[in-house]
């Protein structure tokens, strides 16, 4: 290990670490555009200069390795002057269109210019201008705003290895572009929007949706697969406007997939269940209350009840369910799983899990492996053969149509109870429907495929009368 001082603070770093990384890891911020901890070092932006004792001039901290006894200063007059000049260079061709730029408020160029920049321009020549265009299904490029940090290019070369973007031309004609007819279209494309330090790469999904300074930011966990990416949700006027990854080196590093990124739309979809409903034998539907529903449910649960619970339920819901099944002596329990997909691995170790359920591990922890593996079959068989009086389905799987065999079998039971987030062929048949909250509307936790329990926070108010699974279950 190497001992050095940054701003007089003693720091211990691994040999070979850059001064930049050593500083950032120890809570000392050094301005940077091109440096990204998960990408190769490019050293192109030149703003990350620091002073090192006994070096003749300031050096870029992202390209300078720590050394024993090194004394680094990250702020002084010389450094500020260099940063000011770098920012001036960036701005000579920049359109300075912050009022209509989606990045405004979270733009590195804005922030650093505010800190170090000049309040007037010495550039009186004509600016060079470039294209604004779609570069992929999710991403639009404003090339005029680009600072050519090459983060996007490095991401696509090193992480997805798809290489759809390149820097074209030379010198100040350099510009980011795709090859004609080959857009940025890969499962992680949205990440280039996050790592673009300016408003050059913009999410088409988020475009003109909300000013970032009017949004609330809350931490959550993506429920769309067992990776369990940590995410930051941007909420505006009670609606989720965007998801972005939260750094977690053990789980998702700095990334999330596009599918997860857009999955907030499921929370806001039109077919959310918003009321407690009962359906008579004749088929007429009546609105009811949580209390009334709980009473009905209590009367219909017994030893011959079958329960199907999904691996989209959070640990709180599953634990509450276990108490209920124990209390009523329910033996016929099965797990409702979204079918597996294909695992996808990327550069740097990021993975999209083959397991499309956020909490299979949590289910296993509560009900055991036998129930997880065989329960579903047993329940379906019991229902088909008329052995189950009541079928209680607690679903909540997002972006999924329940299996036809379940829907068919469910018609056979005397009393069908469905607790779900969205209406479905099953809720159309149910005698009692309980609207439940998605992960976005409650606090809870999932256990991801690595067995890590990850808490998520309530982001928005529940849809209508929807309640968290555990709140309902705890009353039974």
């Amino acid at each position: 290990m190497v001992k050095l001082r940054i701003n007089n603070k003693e720091i211990i770093a691994e040999p070979g670490t850059s001064v930049m990384k050593a500083a950032l890891d120890n809570g000392i911020f050094i301005p940077h555009f091109c440096y990204h901890p998960a990408l190769s070092i490019s050293g192109n932006c030149r703003i990350c200069v620091v002073s090192v004792k006994n070096m003749p001039k300031p050096v870029t901290s992202c390209t300078t390795a720590v050394a024993e006894g090194m004394e680094v200063e990250t702020e002084n007059k010389d450094i500020a002057a260099i940063r000011k000049s770098v920012l001036e260079f960036f701005l000579i061709n920049h359109p300075i269109d912050c009022p209509v730029c989606d990045q405004a408020g979270e733009c590195t160029l804005q922030d650093f210019t505010y800190l170090y920049g000049s309040d007037h321009s010495r550039f009186s020549e004509e600016k060079r201008t470039w294209h604004t265009k779609d570069v992929g299904p999710l991403v639009k490029l404003w090339a005029n705003r680009c600072v050519l940090c090459a983060r996007c290019v490095r991401f696509l070369n090193e992480i997805t290895k798809t290489g759809e973007l390149g820097i074209m031309n030379r010198g100040d004609r350099n510009v980011i572009d795709t090859f004609p007819g080959m857009p940025v279209d890969n499962p992680l494309s949205g990440n280039i929007v996050d790592i673009c330090p300016v408003g050059a790469l913009i999410s088409k999904d988020f475009l003109y949706q909300a000013r970032v300074w009017f949004m609330d930011f809350k931490q959550s966990v993506c429920p769309m697969c067992a990776t369990g990416c940590n995410i930051t949700a941007g909420v505006y006027q009670g609606k989720i406007k965007r998801f972005a990854p939260t750094k977690n080196l053990k789980v998702n590093q700095y990334w999330m997939c596009d599918y997860g990124r857009l999955s907030y739309k499921f929370v806001h979809s039109d077919n959310r269940l918003t009321a407690f409903l009962t359906r008579s034998q004749a088929g007429s539907v009546t609105k009811t209350t949580l209390q009334e529903s709980v009473n009905i449910l209590k009367n219909s649960l017994s030893g011959d009840t079958a329960v199907l619970a999904s691996a989209y339920m959070d640990n709180e819901g599953l634990t509450a369910l276990k108490t209920v099944t124990d209390k009523y002596g329910i033996k016929n329990i099965g797990c409702l799983l979204k079918p597996d997909g294909k695992a996808q691995a990327f550069g740097g170790g990021f993975k999209i899990s083959h397991d499309n359920n956020p909490n299979r591990k949590g289910f296993e922890n509560v009900f055991g492996k036998a129930v997880l593996d065989n329960g579903y079959r047993q329940v379906i068989d019991a229902v088909k053969t008329g052995k189950a009086g009541t079928l209680y389905v607690i679903n909540g799987i997002l972006d999924y149509a329940l299996p036809q065999e379940l829907i068919d079998a469910a018609g056979k039971v005397k009393f069908l109870v469905v607790q779900d987030t969205h209406s479905s062929a099953l809720t159309e048949k149910a005698h009692l429907v309980l609207p439940s909250c998605t992960y976005a509307e409650k606090n809870g936790a999932f256990t991801n495929e690595q067995g890590m329990e990850q808490k998520f926070n309530r982001l928005i108010d529940p849809a209508g009368a929807a309640e968290p699974d555990n709140i309902i279950l705890n009353q039974l």
Partner: protein, 157 residues
């Protein structure tokens, strides 16, 4: 239209593959092969090169557009590259350029209607001792005067 290399070029490509330890390193020489066979490089040629070398087409394009000496598709039969950097400029390269411009009726980076000539102002050709210099396709023409240039152009068919 997707392009392919003919057998002879493919042979050269195979020979090149032996000389470099990485596939990426083949990119510049293979672009030369494409330039030679197709007399200029367009998007289809870049796609072909990308496939052969095994890199994304955007990478080929970013490399191709960095280097100014590759012949762009659509260039005239004769590419007239007029050196315009200081040592040539001191000895009349501007006059040479203006002469060509007037004579051919085209500006830099333009091609005559008959597709015969493309004119291009370029930077130092490394022939400052014999300036002014024009590179026509592969060949250097040195110590030029407008008269000499006229003679040369007349010989180009």
């Amino acid at each position: 239209m997707p392009k392919t290399f003919n057998a002879k070029t493919m042979e050269k490509f195979q020979a090149l593959s032996q000389r470099y330890p990485t596939k990426d390193a083949l990119l510049l020489p293979v672009l030369r092969l494409a330039e030679e066979e197709f007399n200029g490089i367009d998007d289809d040629a870049m796609e072909l090169v990308a496939g052969l070398v095994g890199v994304p087409p955007a990478k080929v394009m970013s490399v191709f557009t960095f280097y100014t000496h590759y012949r762009r598709a659509g260039s005239g039969k004769y590419l007239l590259q007029v050196c315009s950097t200081l040592p040539c400029a001191l000895r009349g390269s501007q006059e040479i350029f203006e002469h060509l411009k007037k004579k051919l009726g085209i500006d830099s980076e333009e091609t005559t209607k008959d597709g015969k000539f493309t004119l291009k102002k370029v930077e130092c050709l490394g022939s400052c001792g014999t300036s002014p210099v024009v590179q026509i396709n592969e060949d250097y023409y040195e110590n030029l005067t407008t008269e000499k240039l006229d003679e040369i152009l007349n010989k180009l068919q």
